[in-house]
Symmetry: C2
Subunit: 332 residues, 2 copies
């Protein structure tokens, strides 16, 4: 390596349900350059998803004026089950990957060492290292996007569970016989607290057509399917009661699930990321109140603080890059 | 110490909601002698509970023909919140302890080093070291007794959380706005899956008075309040359909909660202890089926095996003794 001071940068890639992010990341967590692509749909062949990753990594290296031999490796955060040896994506609900040997395939195509990690684990690691949970060795992260992603840092390391499948918080059953989830269960947490729920509820209000939803209807030209998350958040920030109500309801369900997780795991802090976290206190306020109201033993114990994620949509790629750097750096 | 081979024994004490167990335990996990006492009620002064512990420890030393200087220390497993520094019981729902400096008080009275641990953590440790989860470094334990106790071994160590309060699985909300729990919440898991629930349901059947409950009524002389857990389990083992149904229903709720915990934590195995585990497959069979049916990602992942606890009511004291020994043994 030609860089004299500090460790070389790493490339991080975050493959979410809708967007692939890639970035070149310094040891300090600073992102030197960042690009994104649309995630290929569920019906796309695995090779096409790889093509997208490879082209995003090459573009980000060009943008950051780095040659491949100037980076220590590539970290990939993937929305799916990553095997315990972290070579294989066992199952990715939003992609066509089934037992996909992603690490070796990407490593061969990129001629670089590749580290695979669950996307929410990577985001949790980034918030622990550089973000809202800096200095907290026991951090619980939930991201509210299409679904709920979950990551856990315990004792200053990523907790992956026995088979690499730790942190599927979004599919804890919150309501027995409740709403159908695409995972095949009913009543999963993410059917009550996620970006999709914000949209589902706001669109339903628009469809109902009453004056209460006038502002939301205005923001999507009366076409409920054209309403998106940022529009609902903007309406709420501008004072619209209907939009605020939708976000507060999601916040209360968020808080109820967090009360369960805090009772079970007693983390030092909870970090909430994903698109919904842009609504900040409109969601996190009700979440904190519900957590405080429902946490068992309240009055006899500290209540973990609930913080908005700090690193935004870059958290996953920053964490993946940092984990790749750690894996490729000989331990002293 | 006068013993030439191996580490000296330790004394373990388990303070449950109804019974205090004490035992002298060898390094191998073998119990040399064991005594029990009734747990003093919630209205009893803290000093009285200490008296019971001190007298039980002294009796067990006599029974095992050990002098205090022949044991390495005393481990106490307590049903309650133990502070992160493990000197203080912050809150014990079944006792009068509130910010009770138990470690120092017992240590002074016994003139021995004392280690405090949550009772379910101690039981999880015992099952990990000597019982149903031997060799499994990621073990989740639930005990179904008066309520649900929870313990977690991760990476071969007891996971205690940020404030020492990890593992309160019994107070995860399973049914929003469900049954009232004495913790102040509604719908807690232990309101649907515990020894108390078995009794509640079986007594209700007897009270209803129909022929379906004839066998259960016979076993309590027609007095529902005289029915106890072992009687229900015995009736079920003898083939009584009503008793079997009650146990199976508790088993299904057990399995649903386990599906949530396995999704969240991905343990290598689940160990079920407490009085209800005496019903064995009558509870664990339906629990396993429900876990397999509700675990997210099923078909794409291993499902953790669910095993009956091996060490029975001695698990807590064995684990507490072993943790005391480890704490008092200089690490090489």
């Amino acid at each position: 390596m030609s860089r004299a001071a500090g460790a070389p940068p790493a490339v991080g890639v975050d493959i979410g349900g809708t967007t692939v992010w890639a970035g070149a990341v310094e040891e300090s967590g600073r992102v030197l350059a960042q690009v994104h692509r649309a995630t290929p749909g569920r019906s796309t062949r695995p090779e096409v998803v790889e093509d997208v990753i490879v082209s995003a990594v090459r573009e980000v290296l060009l943008d950051a004026r780095l040659t491949p031999d100037q980076v220590v490796g590539v970290g990939v955060g993937a929305a799916g089950f990553v095997s315990a040896d972290r070579r294989t994506v066992l199952f990715a609900p939003h992609l066509s990957w089934r037992d996909e040997p992603l690490r070796d395939r990407l490593s061969r195509r990129l001629s670089l060492p590749v580290t695979i990690e669950n996307d929410a684990n990577a985001a949790a690691w980034a918030e622990h290292r550089f973000g809202a949970g800096q200095g907290e060795s026991r951090l619980l992260l939930v991201t509210l996007g299409t679904g709920i992603g979950g990551g856990l840092v315990l004792d200053g390391r990523v907790e992956r569970g026995r088979h690499g499948l730790c942190g599927e918080f979004g599919h804890m059953v919150m309501v027995p016989e409740g709403r159908r989830c695409e995972c095949g269960n009913r009543g999963c947490w993410e059917q009550y607290a996620s970006g999709s729920v914000v949209l589902r509820e706001a669109r339903e209000l628009v469809r109902a057509g009453g004056p209460y939803a006038a502002e939301l209807a205005r923001r999507c030209g009366g076409l409920p399917e054209d309403l998106d998350g940022p529009a609902v958040t903007a309406a709420a920030h501008a004072g619209d009661a209907a939009a605020q109500e939708v976000l507060a309801e999601v916040g209360r369900w968020l808080g109820l699930g967090l009360a369960n997780l805090v009772a079970a795991l007693d983390p030092g802090c909870v970090v909430v990321g994903g698109g919904v976290s842009a609504a900040d206190d409109l969601v996190l306020g009700p979440a904190r109140q519900t957590l405080a109201r429902h946490l068992t033993g309240r009055g006899h114990r500290p209540v973990a603080p609930v913080r908005a994620a700090y690193l935004g949509p870059s958290a996953g790629l920053i964490g993946a890059a940092d984990l790749a750097r750690i894996e490729q750096t000989p331990q002293v």
